[in-house]
């Protein structure tokens, strides 16, 4: 099954989803398609005005273009998702990856889709890591 992961570029989540036999829907898939395109319109990410229009499918016109541009990348992944894993309080979502409104809208869109979703908190110690992996494992095994 195709599992949307949040944060969409997390190595931990991507690795665990693959380990337990599913396909992660990670951000690299969307970026790969853009940056390895022979046409280089706007390096480094190759986000063009078309993407901002695509973003309109996921967010209203009043939403800043930066958010719409990001959603143009996350959106197609959410559309494909058959299940989702959301990790809250991820330290790296506070900072440069953190366009807070995009993150909020992304989680909102996943919840609106009503696919099986697992919501977890970022682990901070070994006991929590064990619980974190066990919950992901159980969730992914139940999906099969």
């Amino acid at each position: 099954m195709k599992i949307f992961i949040y944060p969409p570029n997390s190595m931990i989540l991507q690795d665990l989803v693959e380990r337990f036999g599913h396909t992660p829907l990670a951000l690299a898939k969307e970026i790969d398609r853009r940056v390895n395109d022979p046409e280089l319109d706007s390096p480094p990410m190759n986000i063009t005005e078309i993407d901002v229009k695509v973003g309109l499918k996921y967010a209203a016109i009043e939403v800043p273009s930066g958010v719409r541009g990001r959603l143009a990348m996350f959106g197609p992944l959410i559309d494909e998702a058959e299940a989702a894993i959301i990790v809250n309080n991820f330290p790296s979502t506070f900072g440069c990856m953190a366009c807070a409104r995009t993150n909020e809208l992304t989680i909102y869109l996943i919840k609106q889709k009503r696919v099986p979703t697992l919501e977890l908190d970022y682990p901070t110690n070994e006991e929590e890591v064990e619980d974190f992996i066990a919950r992901i494992k159980n969730f992914l095994e139940d999906l099969k």
Binding site: M11, E126, E130, N138
Partner: protein, 138 residues
């Protein structure tokens, strides 16, 4: 064409060279680069996926992997051409890197046990009323 990055957990005795030797022994046509955190592998989609599975089988919880969008040595990402500094995405990796030893240990030991977390209950309304009344009366 697909690029994958492999990151070795901090606590592991595995070295990037060991992983490279293993990949070379598989005899596939791949472009490999070793880095401070592990290695990067580039090649045809199915070959890269196949090699990833074999690396996971061989090194189990010692190594973590993800799909990387940019090709190896891409000028838009490579520090050599960008005048140094951390590459974008490094801080995210750094943050996750701290958790790899614990994840690696759990995966290797096969300990998959969930903990029942007690939900924090809100303060009882009677206690709250009593506290307010005490304050107001004073």
């Amino acid at each position: 064409m697909k690029t994958r990055m492999f990151v070795i957990a901090d606590t592991s005795s595995l070295t990037p060279q060991t992983v490279i030797n293993y990949i070379v022994s598989l005899g596939k046509t791949l472009n490999i680069k070793d880095t401070c955190y592990g290695i990067m592998v580039e090649g045809d989609d199915d070959v890269v996926e196949n090699v990833t599975l074999k690396i996971r089988e061989k090194f189990d919880g010692d190594i973590f992997s993800k799909h990387r969008a940019y090709p190896i040595g891409d000028e838009r990402r490579c520090r050599a051409t960008r005048g140094g500094g951390a590459r974008p995405g490094y801080y995210f990796l750094l943050e996750e890197y701290k958790l790899f030893p614990a994840i690696s240990k759990v995966l290797k030991e096969g300990r998959f046990k969930t903990i029942d977390k007690k939900k924090k209950k809100p303060v009882d309304i009677d206690i709250l009323k009593k506290a307010i009344n005490e304050k107001v009366q004073k």
